[in-house]
Structures are given as C-alpha cells and as structure tokens.
Amino acid sequence: MIYEGKQKIWADYQKEIPEDHYFYVRSCIRQSFFPASEVTFLDITRNKLGKDIFETEHHTTCGGIAYHSDAIPQETAMTIIARQFALMKKYGYENYVCSCITSFGLYCETMETWREYPELQEKIADNLWKSCHLEFAKPKFLVHASDLIFKYRNQIAAKSKYKLVNVKTGEPLRVVEHIGCHYSKMFPSKGVGGAEYPYVLVGMVEAWGGQIIDYPERRHCCGFGFRQYMIQSNRGYSLSNTHKKFESMEPFKPDMIITNCPGCPYFLDRWQYVIAETEGKTYGENGHGIPVFTYEEVAGLVMGYDPWDLGLQTHQVGVEPLLDKMGIPYDPAKKYLGKNGKNIGEPEKPHCLK
C-alpha cells in the first residue's frame, strides 16, 4: 500500500476536536468514585492551559444509568439530554464536552436517532418546551473529556514535571490502556481512532513517555455492564469479565492501567480486591495489585500535582509502588488527611492485597 493511501484511510479514523470554548458536564458517578478527576480536568484546562471551559450547577444526569438499566424509556432520556443541550445554548456555547463515557455514548445515540427520525426530534423539542420552557439546540461539536486531554497532550507534556518512566531503570512504564465500550464501539466515527484502533489514550501515554502494551483481551469490556453489576447475584458476570482481562494482561507485567470511563477504573480497581479475597490472587508485583487511573489523574501526576490532592487515596489498589517508580514524592502521613487537614477515615486493610 502506498503511503498516501494509508494516510487517507487513517484520516477516516480522525475526529475533529475544536481547540477551545466548551460547555462541560460532569458525570454522576465519577465524583464519588474518583473525586478529584473532574476538578483536575477543570484545573488543567482552565488554569494551566488557559482554555474556556464553562460549567453550570443547573445541569443534571444524562439519564444514562436509568436508560441502560431499563428504568426509563429512550424518549425520557432524550428530553433530559435536550435540556442539557439547551443549557449549553443558553450560556452561549456550541461545543459540548462530557466527563462520562456512558453519557458520551448516549449523546451520540440520541444525536444519531434525531438525525434518522426528525419527527422524533420535533417531539422531543416540544417536550422540552412544555416541561422546561427551553429552546431546543444541538451541539456543533460533541467530544468526550478524554478527547480534549488527547488534544492537549503535547501541551501537557511540555508542562510536565514527571514522565511515565521508571526512574530507577530509565525504561518507559508499561501501560495498559482501557477504553470504555461506549466511547467508540457503538459509533466508531465519534472516537479518535474508531473502534478498531482507539488512539485517544495511547496518544496520551506515548506523549508522556510511557509504553503501551498489547495483550489478547485488550478490547474486552471491563464487565460493568449496568445490569450485570446492579443486581448482586449477577455480579459474578462482571467479576468474571475483569478476571479474564487480568489473566490475559498478567504475563505482560503492566505497571499501571489508564482508562477513560467512569465504570472501568472503578471495576478494574475494586475487583482486584474481590479476586484477591476470593481466589487469593494478585496481579501486581510482590502481592500488590496493578494501580488503575483515570486519564485526568495520570495527567495530574505528570504535571506534578500532589497524589493525595488527586484523590489517589480513594483507590482500592495502592498507588505508592507506581509513585516510587515515577519518582513522585508523597507524604504517607498525609494520605488520609482531607483538604481541611482532618482525618477522612482509613479503610480496613484487605487480607491478601497489599
């Protein structure tokens, strides 16, 4: 194949991401699972890179969890989403960035449905006016927050204090990247690299000095799957998915995992504890697990944020071995101190997982 041909094909896998001026919506679950990720995103983009990212306290859930759990019909979710878009227009923005992969997938699904069925779009616009007295609008550009960090990856690298490099050996850290299923598996053209070659996290890791490792179950789901997790008796399915991934990546000895979804880092992190307690197996070095991070946390680490300000103490798998590898200083005594200096409480120590 000639080089120009390859470039042309690869161009189909690219996504247009505007440089600036975004209306930002948060995720329902990320703020409790990984409490500092969204704050870090806003701090990096607004204060470190000088971008215009606007958020309002008036936005709500996208309805994704209820929709995917069959608790609300699609039209209800669409009306909720239409309200979010209307808020964007009300505040004078036309680029929409969301923190959550589930939301991103649902926004894509909604936009595609409206494109396919204009009469349904009319109905939703009517619902929106009747219920909220807001004017219907659609974003000009819809991106996920990881798309933006991908866009700014080189600017972040230029301002970085640390690299994804083992300071003792000088070798790049071996990184597993895990993309949320709803990022590009449903609508491949909406993600950087499509569903076949998702590049959004790979680009970040490469720009920050790390080395991506490939393994057989790389594109396998983390196992969240909504109904698989929400009913306790079904959680074995969720756990088994994660177990399959860890068994597959174990021989490649990853140093860390980076993800861009709310559910994936949670389950890849917490299920390591459950696997350790039920099977007595750990996947990291010397009885540790493999630390799992959101892309904002990794960006924060390379930019020199304090690990405890990034909320890394809320992870199940201890992050200290990775911090040592990267040469990032941290104070163990401050691990469980809140922003006000008071102890936030310490979790019980697991039996198997260090």
Binding site: G236, L239, S240, K244, I275, E277, T278, H351
Partner: protein, 109 residues
C-alpha cells in the same frame, strides 16, 4: 476469605491447542455419525441418567472437539446405555454405539 454473595463464573475459554485431534479423528473414522450431530439436545432431554447426574452427549461431543476431554468424558460417565437417546435422535445417529466408541477410544474404564 470474604463471602461477597457472588463469585467468578467458570471460564468458558476454548483452547484448541489442547484438542486431542488424533483421538477425535479416530473416533470419526469408526463413527462418522459423530459429525452428524446438530446439537439439538433431544438425547440430553430424554436421558434417564440425566435426571440424577449431569449427562449430555451433545455437550460431550462439543467438549471433545473443543479440547475439554475431561469435562466431556465426565458428562458421559453416568450413561446406563439404555438407548433412549438413539430412539429420539432426529439425525438417526446410533448414539448408544457412539458413546461406547468414545469410551473405547478415550480409554474410559
């Protein structure tokens, strides 16, 4: 160990490298009907032994082809050779004889 109320599901991974190709070829040689099975499950549904112990010729044949010999032979270990499965097989397979041949080739005592 902590009890969570759920646990890992058994792996359904198929490793074809573990397949005993020679034995299965030998089986097909003397029992060509082994490849006729369309996995309808009539044999399993009508199995007398299956009421008491997990017994399934359909799953056993799949197991032999997918490299899970141990599981496959366990699924046939309670067969009483009553022959009811032969009577219900829509493909006309002599299932009773097939099970005997499997036991012979895979050296089940």
């Amino acid at each position: 160990m902590v009890e969570f109320g759920f646990k890992l599901s058994p792996s359904s991974r198929i490793n074809l490298d573990l397949r005993d190709k020679a034995s299965f070829s030998k089986l097909v040689e003397i029992e060509p009907d082994a490849l006729k099975c369309m996995a309808c499950g009539s044999c399993t549904a009508s199995c007398s032994a299956g009421i008491f112990e997990e017994t399934s010729l359909r799953s056993a044949l799949l197991g032999l082809q997918n490299g899970d010999k141990e599981k496959a032979l366990k699924l046939l270990s309670h067969c009483m050779f009553c022959g009811k499965c032969t009577m219900v097989c829509p493909r006309g397979i002599n299932t009773r004889h097939l099970i005997l041949s499997i036991n012979k080739i895979y050296q089940v005592r």
